[in-house]
């Protein structure tokens, strides 16, 4: 067991010793400190550089709960797809619980080509936390994503406890359009708020811009900060179907129909 003694010494020495004390406390009680204890292999990147810079440890912490509170068109599906592509490897399995059943199948065909990704789409959204709980208990996944559901406090406690015990990362994506509030409590160690950047008023009949940036704000787990992530939207010629599907229409170019 480590021990630290503090005495009345010079300002520099005191700062160094306080810092040492903080390190010991972080190591001994990782969840008691406001910031998360960093571990060498305890973080997985998101695949988006700007987001990794925003997150306190440079990614999703393992053994912790990360929460994304998202507005409509806040970019959660876009970022989630990149995150899953980044995580899913033969030795890192990912489970995605689509409790809201809103993810579009066509967008996930490419990530699903990896055998490391398992999709769970419960018929009822209320079964989502139960599914995530089972998957965490099974211990076969490095990352479990629970998408599109409002967690009740008891379920949140259980999931948080399981995530901490299993050394797996748990990402909860909570839409604000179903609950109507962003929430401040909860057991998440890191909370990001995702929202679309405001759009300039172009007027009726004007085509929406091809770029729609995402605003990501850290609201828990570190000092408040905000970044903007660039996002390309669908081209507007609306001609081609999914790239894996042979396109039999003569005028098609690359891209997708929206």
């Amino acid at each position: 067991m480590s021990s630290v003694s503090v005495s009345l010494v010079s300002e520099e020495t005191r700062a160094a010793r306080v810092s040492a004390l903080q390190e010991v406390l972080r190591a001994r009680f990782p969840t008691a400190a406001p910031e998360i204890a960093a571990r060498a292999d305890g973080v997985g990147g998101t695949g988006v550089e700007a987001l990794d810079r925003l997150l306190p440890l440079g990614g999703l912490p393992r053994g912790q709960v990360t929460e994304w509170v998202v507005a409509r068109s806040g970019g959660s599906a876009t970022l989630l797809r990149r995150l899953v592509l980044h995580w899913a490897r033969p030795d890192e399995k990912v489970a995605l619980v689509d409790a809201g059943r809103t993810l579009a199948a066509a967008d996930w065909v490419t990530p699903a080509r990896s055998a490391a990704l398992t999709f769970v789409r419960p018929s009822e959204p209320r079964d989502g936390p139960w599914c995530a709980e089972l998957l965490l208990r099974a211990g076969g996944f490095s990352l479990v994503v629970l998408d599109g559901v409002e967690l009740r406090s008891r379920a949140a406690q259980r999931l948080s406890h399981l995530a901490r015990g299993s050394d797996n990362a748990l990402l909860v994506i909570r839409p604000t359009w179903t609950s109507g509030h962003v929430g401040r409590g909860g057991l998440a160690t890191v909370r990001l708020r995702l929202a679309p950047a405001d759009s300039p008023l172009l007027g009726p009949g004007k085509t929406p811009p091809d770029r729609a940036p995402i605003t990501a704000a850290l609201t828990k787990g570190g000092p408040p900060a905000q970044v903007e992530v660039s996002r390309e939207t669908f081209p507007t010629h609306w001609l081609c179907a999914h790239p894996l599907v042979p396109d039999r229409r003569g005028g098609a170019t690359r891209g997708r129909s929206w």
């Binding site: 988006v48 507005a71 068109s73 970019g75 959660s76 599906a77 876009t78 980044h86 059943r101 809103t102 993810l103 579009a104 199948a105 066509a106 967008d107 996930w108 065909v109 490419t110 699903a112 080509r113 055998a115 398992t118 999709f119 769970v120 789409r121 419960p122 139960w130 599914c131 998957l135 208990r137 099974a138 211990g139 076969g140 050394d167 679309p196 950047a197 405001d198 759009s199 008023l201 172009l202 007027g203 009726p204 009949g205 004007k206 085509t207 929406p208 811009p209 995402i214 992530v229 660039s230 996002r231 390309e232 939207t233 669908f234 507007t236 609306w238 179907a241 999914h242 129909s257 929206w258």
Partner: protein, 492 residues
């Protein structure tokens, strides 16, 4: 002929002698000679018959890998895996032809799901080759051998079952004439009267026969039923019964080197209620008791029965012959126990539906919401899978392309428009001004199927940044009512 002198009795006779009235086992030699004057009698020679059976078995082995001598003049064959050689019917024909060529012209060959049904069919008059295939009887599920055999046996006389003579006599005294009448008796009453012999007789009557050709796995019991006394009224009591049945079943399967891939739970209810059953599948075959008990519990949790359960049965309706051993790494903190994962996915399937573990597939369609579909994912591979096509490296593709969120059922919403162009939408009980709205995109198609559509789509952006996919049916002729707008989904 066995025995000597006046005690010599006929042990076996050919067809002509039987037609003349000779009764093996009953008639003495003198009585038999009285039936047939020119009867040719030979002393019984065990070695002779043994050699003859061995020679015949050697010929039969050319057609099927498993031939078991089941007594004098009887062979059991493994008829599985003959699909590439014409199936079971072709196998039966080949076996019959070989037997006749070997000199046994009155041979009978029957293919059935159980030995008891096959032997009973061989003893019935009829064609020399007969098939009792799974699914041949109306109302029976394919692959459920016991159900088909039970229907076949139901109207046959009780004497065709290989029962203990004393038990047979008692059953006849009780007025039972057919196999079906025995099968209809409750397991509890038979167990109370005759013990294990009673239960075994009932199993035979229901086409459940633990005997069979000795393949690498030995006997192939697929259904184990357990009578519950008193009848179970709680979930825990039912799970306990199912667990006990699973223990017995798994013992047999482990001896065979088989694993359970799919099972069915049978419940017999107290009173006049009809029996019921539920099926459950595993994402990965296993012989571990824990995941199977959890699967049974998950099935039972969602089941409401109208009466207490007097008997619970576990039937393996799909099994695989495979031995598998995963090597864990003690020094890896995130070792993946595939069986535990399978149990979790099985419970999810049992509670949330078989398609709850899904995978996406692309679909050739020009409607944004129909360009992909979710299909049930049957198996989660945790071992080394075949190398998939290379995935795009996220690091090399820095641009984030937007993904969609789609509503399973498009929601109706109110839209203020000007000249056919949407100006604002009411979403989440608030009106949102539209910052931009794409020109109308007209879609039509599917007239050849039930997906017929003719509509106008818009991609709109609210001043708050939400990018919505709106749609409304194409207006009809002048004067027809205008149908409302719907929200298909949004870019996310």
């Amino acid at each position: 002929m066995v025995g000597r002198g006046s005690r010599a009795r006929v042990r076996m006779a050919n067809g002509a002698a039987l037609e003349a009235g000779v009764r093996p086992g009953l008639h003495t030699v003198a009585r038999a000679k009285a039936c047939v004057a020119d009867l040719r009698i030979q002393a019984w020679d065990d070695d002779l018959y043994d050699r003859a059976q061995q020679d015949l078995a050697a010929h039969l082995l050319e057609h099927t890998p498993a031939v078991t001598r089941a007594g004098l003049g009887r062979f059991w064959f493994d008829a599985a895996g003959q699909d590439r050689l014409g199936g079971e019917e072709a196998l039966a024909e080949r076996l019959y032809r070989t037997t006749v060529e070997a000199g046994y012209t009155d041979a009978r060959v029957t293919v059935a799901g159980s030995v008891v049904a096959a032997e009973a069919a061989c003893r019935l008059p009829g064609e020399p080759v007969s098939i009792i295939p799974p699914g041949a009887m109306p109302g029976c599920d394919a692959g459920v051998d016991a159900g088909v055999d039970a229907e076949f046996l139901a109207f046959l006389p009780l004497g065709l079952l290989p029962l203990d003579p004393e038990l047979h006599e008692v059953l006849q005294t009780m007025g039972l004439q057919t196999v079906g009448e025995l099968a209809a008796l409750t397991a509890t009453s038979l167990e109370l009267r005759f013990g294990a012999a009673g239960l075994a007789a009932r199993d035979l009557a229901r086409g459940i026969d633990p005997r069979g050709p000795l393949t690498c796995g030995g006997p192939s019991a697929r259904l184990v039923e357990l009578a519950l006394e008193p009848p179970a009224q709680t979930l825990d009591a039912l799970v306990f019964g199912a667990r006990a049945a699973l223990v017995t079943l798994l013992r047999t399967l482990k001896a065979q080197g088989s694993q359970v891939a799919r099972l069915r739970l049978h419940f017999k209810l107290d009173g006049v209620h009809a029996p019921t059953s539920r099926e459950a599948g595993l994402s990965r075959p296993t012989t571990r008791l824990g995941p199977l008990v959890e699967l049974c519990r998950a099935v039972l949790e969602r089941l409401t029965l109208p009466a207490p359960v007097v008997a619970v049965g576990v039937e393996v309706i799909e099994k695989v012959q495979s031995a598998r051993g995963d090597q864990g790494n003690l020094f890896r903190s995130r070792f993946k126990d595939s069986d535990a994962l399978d149990a979790a996915l099985s419970r999810i399937r049992a509670r949330c539906g078989t398609d709850s573990v899904a995978r996406p597939l692309p679909v050739d369609d020009h409607r944004p919401e129909a360009q992909g579909t979710w299909v049930a994912d049957g198996l989660v591979v945790l071992d080394n899978p075949p190398a998939p096509p290379p995935l795009p490296d996220p690091a090399t593709n820095s641009a984030l392309s937007a993904a969609l969120r789609l509503l399973e059922t498009p929601e109706g919403l109110r839209v203020r428009e000007s000249g056919g162009v949407p100006m604002s939408v009411q979403l989440d009980r608030r009106w949102h001004t539209l910052a931009a709205a794409s020109p109308v995109r007209r879609l039509s198609g599917g007239w050849w199927s039930h997906t017929s559509h003719m509509r106008q789509d818009h991609l709109v952006t609210t001043t708050g940044g939400a990018r919505l996919l709106l749609s409304r049916p194409e207006p009809g002729p002048e004067g027809s009512p205008t149908l409302g707008w719907t929200l298909i989904g949004w870019e996310d």
